[in-house]
């Protein structure tokens, strides 16, 4: 240990004599050398005169360390000018690299002792915590590095990587609702098949004292056993969960009864230290080159490059993650189609019954942020400061653990008392009945997957693990291919073949220097997936949320996609909510090269790590709807594009040419037969009533200004017309709409408003064909958000007899005014 001149001495000091020679044994507190320093003091003599005198004071320097002196950096007469100068090197018998609960694990000394000689606390020598199940054991950086290199060598030897596995909603899903037990005991229940394999357990040391004998119901993600089996041959598995230790161990017992996959590599929130983030450095403090993570949440990993985000496993609808109640609320935008449909069905009933449910309420997110009584809401109470405090506090903080427990208690109690699943099942059945009665259109084309006597709420059809396994296999192969290549070439090899064959050669002792970094390999593979894709989200991210930092956007970006907030020339895909036609969707519909898809497409890409075929996920947008505005939308849309990079004349030509070609292929526009028309008609009617009127007005407005100088206009218009004829859509709309656009361009705002109101009334009172209502001109609203808001308003109108009445009255009034 190097001893440096400490602070707090009266510098400069001059060394007088060294008291020890190299190889001497030194006790703690033994004098190392003597020195003197000079200072001015005030001296008085017997006459009372005072004067400043410079004086030398001798002093000794004591060793703060014990050990053997190896060498001096100073000699007799050296003047030391400041603190931090090297003095002497002492070889200590124990450097306290590993410390357990404030004691050195190597010599048993208490590290927390301090006295007047202590110049650096011994506890600070070991600060890295890299043990899964213990927070008291700390090691020094050096030790951590050694340990990690050891582990790396071992893993390279057996050709494995490390994989950190999250539990809740990644490989399992747990709820506390005792409804599950009832369903399990009732073979006639529609959910019986789904829940019969749910495992239940109790925690012995459950600290939720108020909750008597709490049962947990744990559903394994389908295919988990095979997944672990296969993956454990390529990866050393660790569990890293935000649940309590007891819970994590109970789960580990279920998914890994023989402890062959995970062993004791389980890290729970009791040991994590913070409850806001998970960090790789907790387990791999120095080097994360060979570590992968699978988790359903990206935010708590800060979207680390090592992360493979998986789709959250949401089996017990509305249960969410019972162990993440203290985490920032995750806005869930997406679920399986089956679930979405279930949620859709229940939606209406829920509204009435004020049912509380959590994240499964997908559809209503766009309409209204779900105000659930469930846990996630309680997070909102935490201020940023508190969060930060929580983050900073250590692992043994009893307050923190207490708080987490309380949060969780709330969730569990609410699940036990409110029983959201039971409510949902009831709601579902109710909805079904009403649907049957009314011949609901939505319900009719929704495929009913499990038709018992009632539809079951729970669906056991998740196949995510298969895809994850495939991805992990690819990464594993890519990593070791690259490693092999680098080792043979021994210089930075080219980009590894992603699908190379495994080398049959036996691995010689490795060289750690050439180990490739998973943080470059995996992102490279991922980015290739959606390379060149530019995505605009519409009706997906809740209002008031920054699109760029939303989970789905970050997720998409990690796959190499570009995310923009508005449709530009580069936009290739619009990811939209199929149940809502927003401004962006309509604008995108005018560009055949832009594919309008559901989030499912994106999720498929994420799952499979390849660009999925868009065809099954396309949202059919009625060409008549966007074509029905008197040729104006095309131009308006191009105006919008012009906001981005300016279009030159050549550009325009090129684009229109492309468009024409695309048109023939593009399914959005071409493949709409009369039958599809009929079946979709009613649906469109609904949407148009909601938001069209507002959205399209923009088009006509801008049109009136720009159409004259736009060379492009005619060609595109022509192409649009051609398309329309091809699809055989309703033509009356055209004349209608051109009228509308003309009038709107010339008329005043007031007139337009009035007209809109009039139109709305008619469209609501007489059930007419789509073209009539689509021709609504609109007020001055612009922008995508506006469209969504208006969509909301429209919905309310539909629901509400009052609003209808109001509109009618208003219309009457204005008519009167006119006359």
């Amino acid at each position: 240990m190097l001893v440096e001149s400490p602070t707090g001495l009266h510098y400069p000091i001059t060394v007088v004599e060294l008291a020890k020679k190299p190889e001497d044994d030194i006790q703690r507190g033994a004098p190392l050398f003597s020195y003197y320093y000079e200072t001015t003091v005030t001296e008085g003599d017997k006459y009372g005169d005072e004067k400043e005198v410079k004086k030398k004071f001798p002093a000794g320097f004591e060793s703060s360390k014990a050990g053997t002196l190896t060498r001096w950096f100073i000699q007799n007469g050296t003047v030391i000018q400041r603190a931090g100068v090297k003095l002497v090197e002492i070889d200590e018998p124990c450097t306290h690299e590993t410390q357990f609960a404030g004691m050195c694990a190597d010599c048993g000394k208490d590290m927390t002792e301090e006295d007047y000689m202590t110049d650096g606390r011994d506890v600070d020598r070991a600060t890295v915590n890299m043990t899964h199940d213990n927070t008291s054991l700390l090691v020094s950086k050096k030790e951590a590095l050694l340990a990690e290199e050891d582990a790396k060598r071992r893993l390279l030897g057996v050709k494995k990587l490390s994989l950190i596995v999250d539990l809740d909603q990644t490989v399992i899903h747990t709820t506390c609702e005792r409804t599950i037990a009832e369903w399990q005991n009732d073979p006639n229940n529609p959910n019986y098949d789904a829940v019969k394999e749910v495992r239940s357990f109790q925690l012995a040391d459950d600290r939720l004292a108020n909750v008597a004998a709490n049962w947990y119901y744990c559903k394994l993600r389908p295919g988990l056993k095979e997944f672990l089996d296969k993956v454990s041959t390529m990866y050393e598995l660790h569990i890293y969960t935000m649940a309590t230790r007891a819970y994590a161990q109970a789960i580990a017992k279920i998914i890994d009864p023989d402890r062959v996959y995970f062993g004791d590599r389980i890290l729970s929130r009791d040991e994590n230290g913070t409850d806001q983030v998970k960090t790789l450095h907790r387990l791999f403090p120095v080097n994360t080159d060979m570590v992968l993570v699978i988790d359903d949440r990206g935010d708590i990993w800060h979207w680390s490059d090592n992360l493979v985000k998986v789709r959250a496993y949401n089996f017990f609808l509305g249960a969410g993650d019972i162990n993440a109640s203290f985490l920032p609320k995750q806005v869930d935008l997406i679920t399986d189609t089956a679930q979405t449909k279930a949620a859709e069905l229940t939606k209406d009933v829920e509204k009435k019954s004020e049912d509380s449910n959590g994240e499964a309420q997908v559809v209503s997110i766009a309409a209204k942020p779900p105000e659930s009584i469930l846990a996630p809401v309680t997070n909102g109470v935490l201020t940023d400061l508190e969060k930060q405090l929580l983050t900073m506090s250590g692992g043994d903080n009893p307050d923190l653990l207490e708080r987490q427990t309380k949060e969780q208690e709330k969730v569990i109690i609410s699940q036990q008392t409110e029983r959201p699943l039971l409510q949902k099942q009831l709601a579902l059945e109710q909805a079904e009945e009403t649907a049957e009665a009314e011949e609901d259109v939505d319900n009719a084309d929704a495929p009913a997957p499990e038709q018992h006597k009632h539809k079951s709420l729970l669906h056991d059809d998740d196949d995510e693990l298969i895809y994850i396994e495939a991805c992990l296999r690819r990464v594993h192969r890519a990593f070791f291919d690259e490693y092999q290549k680098k080792r043979t070439a021994h210089q930075g090899g080219r980009i590894a073949e992603l699908r190379g064959e495994k080398s049959p050669k036996k691995r010689a002792p490795d060289d750690l220097a050439v180990v490739p970094d998973i943080k470059t390999i995996m992102p490279r593979m991922k980015r290739a997936v959606l390379q060149g894709v530019s995505i605009v989200f519409s009706g997906i991210v809740p209002l008031g949320m920054d699109v760029q930092s939303s989970d789905i956007a970050l997720w998409a970006k990690s796959f190499g996609a570009q995310v923009t907030t508005d449709i530009t020339k580069q936009t290739t895909h619009v990811v939209a909510n199929p149940s809502r036609k927003t401004t962006k969707v309509k604008r995108a519909a005018n560009h055949p090269q832009i594919k309008i898809v559901t989030t499912e497409w994106l999720l498929q890409c994420f799952s499979k790590w390849e660009r999925a075929d868009e065809q099954p996920y396309l949202i059919q947008v009625d060409p008549a709807e966007h074509g029905a505005h008197g040729g104006s939308p095309e131009i308006s849309a191009f105006d919008d594009l012009d906001e981005g990079p300016l279009l030159s004349a050549e550009d325009d030509g090129a684009i229109s040419g492309e468009e024409d070609e695309d048109e023939l292929k593009s399914p959005v526009n071409v493949d709409i037969s009369e039958e599809t028309w009929q079946s979709l008609g009613d649906e469109f009617q609904e949407f148009m009533d909601e938001s069209d009127d507002d959205d399209q007005g923009t088009g006509s407005d801008t049109d009136s200004v720009n159409s004259e100088n736009s060379v492009q206009t005619s060609s595109t218009t022509r192409s649009k017309k051609k398309r329309k004829r091809g699809t055989g859509s309703v033509d009356g709309s055209e004349a209608d709409d051109s009228d509308a656009s003309v009038s709107s361009s010339t008329g005043s705002k007031l007139q337009r408003k009035k007209k809109r109101v009039l139109e709305r009334v008619t469209s609501l009172t007489n059930v007419v064909s789509a073209d009539k209502s689509s021709g609504l001109p609109s007020p001055e609203t612009t922008g995508p958000d506006e469209g969504q808001e208006n969509g909301l308003g429209g919905e309310e109108d539909d629901d509400d007899g009052d609003a209808e009445l109001e509109a009618e009255l208003l219309a009457e009034l204005e008519r009167d005014d006119d006359e």
Binding site: A105, D106, T131, A147, R259, V260
Partner: protein, 171 residues
């Protein structure tokens, strides 16, 4: 090491317990609160039956009664240099943890004889000399305490097995 130790404890009793069975209530409370607790220096293993209860005093404002109880208990206090038996609770690369009753001890790599090596590829991981000595989770083991530290209600120890007759116990 075990000791017979005389202790004192103040117990507060809710008014609903006042009655002929008050002594048994106090006893129950004493056992529940004290037995198995750790003061940081020693663990109270067992409270002996004979105990003295002082006159009760009603606490102003709450209605609770306060009793001072004198009792004798068997306590356990570990000492540096003591040899204790325990059960291995966790095995890691840098050593292993031993539970010795209320005491958690850690035996670091440097405290393990050099012929016993860590084997991470075994499931579960273990320390072994590839002969009869295998240290894995659940192994009974004898260690010597090398260092002791106590916090408010916990005790920690550093153990060693680098001396004769220490190590896994053969059953």
């Amino acid at each position: 090491m075990f000791f017979l130790y005389e202790l004192e404890k103040t117990i507060q009793l809710h008014p609903s317990f006042f009655g002929p069975l008050i002594r048994s209530h106090i006893h129950r409370e004493l056992l529940a609160k004290e037995e198995g607790s750790n003061t940081g220096k020693y663990t109270i293993v067992c409270i002996l039956d004979s105990f003295e209860v002082s006159e009760g005093q009603v606490v102003a404002g709450t209605g609770h009664a306060e009793y001072t109880v004198h009792y004798k208990a068997v306590v356990w206090r570990p000492f540096r240099g003591e040899i204790i038996d325990g059960v291995v609770s966790s095995v890691i690369r840098s050593g292993f943890f031993v539970e010795c009753g209320s005491l958690q001890a850690f035996v670091g790599r440097s405290m393990i004889p050099s012929e016993i090596k860590y084997d991470a590829n075994a499931t579960p991981p273990q320390w072994t000399d590839n002969a009869e000595q295998i240290i894995e989770k659940g192994t009974q083991i004898r260690i010597k305490i090398k260092g002791l530290r106590s916090e408010v209600d916990k005790m920690f120890a550093i153990g060693t097995m680098k001396e004769d007759y220490l190590g896994p116990l053969m059953s």
